[in-house]
């Protein structure tokens, strides 16, 4: 016990500092140097509590995802799925580094927990047994994939903003949209046509609309009656 208890290093404090570093500067912001400076110690002290950087990232992911995802009591299965999806969307939006962690493999315990929750609602929807795994997998892929894409876009926008101050979301979308509209309509009819929809779209609404498309597809699998 070289330190008093207030100063004492612990796995918990290290994970907490890791989350702060990740939130502040992304995955590149979490380094063992930064942690040693923060705790005024050497790398060996960190390694005593944590096996390596991968394990630290996994622990940070668990810590951040431990809290939320409460679903209202009287909610329908569709509403419950939307709530889980939005919970993940917002968590990744707040902690963009989560995205890379969640796709590390579906066999991390947090990811399995989310898959279970989605699957339960798929069962509650009355989807035939043989189609349940496929349905839940499609939802899971979409939710993680789309939330991830949103986080990457947000992170890119933040980076762009450091070099071009004043480039907020609105002006970015407007610039990109006008580039689309000036594409050759013969070669890029779609991008040309929907430029304005892209300019005016809302990320969360867009994300939820995708969930609803899949839900429509899934409920169509139910036997009639």
């Amino acid at each position: 016990m070289a330190r008093n208890t207030a100063d004492a290093l612990s796995r918990e404090r290290i994970v907490g500092a890791a989350v702060e570093l990740l939130d502040a500067a992304g995955e590149g912001g979490l380094t063992f140097r930064a942690l040693t400076e923060r705790f005024k110690t050497g790398p060996g002290a960190i390694y005593w509590h944590v096996a390596n950087k991968d394990e630290l990232l996994a622990a940070a992911t668990d810590a951040v995802l431990a809290g939320p995802a409460v679903v209202a009591e009287g909610a329908s299965p569709e509403e419950a799925i939307r709530a889980v999806a939005l919970g993940l969307f917002d968590a990744i939006d707040e902690h963009p580094w989560l995205a890379a962690q969640l796709s590390r493999g579906p066999f991390r315990s947090v990811t399995l927990g989310i898959f279970e929750r989605i699957g339960q609602q798929v069962q509650a929807l009355g989807v035939p047994f043989e189609a349940q795994f496929t349905s839940a997998s499609a939802l899971m892929s979409y939710i993680v994939g789309a939330a991830r894409q949103n986080a990457v876009n947000a992170a890119n926008a933040a980076i762009a903003r450091t070099t071009q101050p004043g480039l907020d979301r609105t002006t970015f979308l407007a610039t990109e949209a006008s580039a689309w509209r000036s594409l050759d309509p013969a070669e890029f009819p779609f991008l040309h046509d929907i430029a304005a929809q892209f300019r005016d779209h809302d990320d969360r609404a867009q994300f939820l609309a995708g969930v609803d498309l899949i839900l429509t597809g899934i409920t169509a699998l139910r036997p009639p009656g």
Copy 2:
């Protein structure tokens, strides 16, 4: 001209070597040291042809995605979308490092090209104008997200195989599935129930089933008649 033309370094040759290194050992396998060894030169020579590692990764992505994605002439919009989706799925399966590149932002030219192709088919499906952007975005998110997840799983399996030889896909799925089945059915009813479906699932079929769920949702947006 310090070298003869056969030896001459060029952006093209560097990108080609980068693809080989990426295929052989993933994103971590592409280093400037490896490239200098390959071409028996110094890092400055590489930097003369290529701005930095990011640009090299982007060029490698473009090179790999330049070839394929031909869609049969008489194909229906649904078939064309499935073809684009499967083309990307297979490309990512063959070059897992593509996954990280594709989600770098939807504003890289390759990604925009794929989005355009999907969007054209969405228009061909007769989706109302206001819903076209949403529909194409959902498809794009799912396709990239699910293909990405598949690549990550494949890469993880390959890594696991280096430490545990003989751990092929079948035995891995069987082990994981039996772990799911032994979960408490009260806490994990879904995972417990569908363990066998997970064990027996086919990755490509699973991926395509998800595309079809979204297609069902999209076609339901069409006005009746």
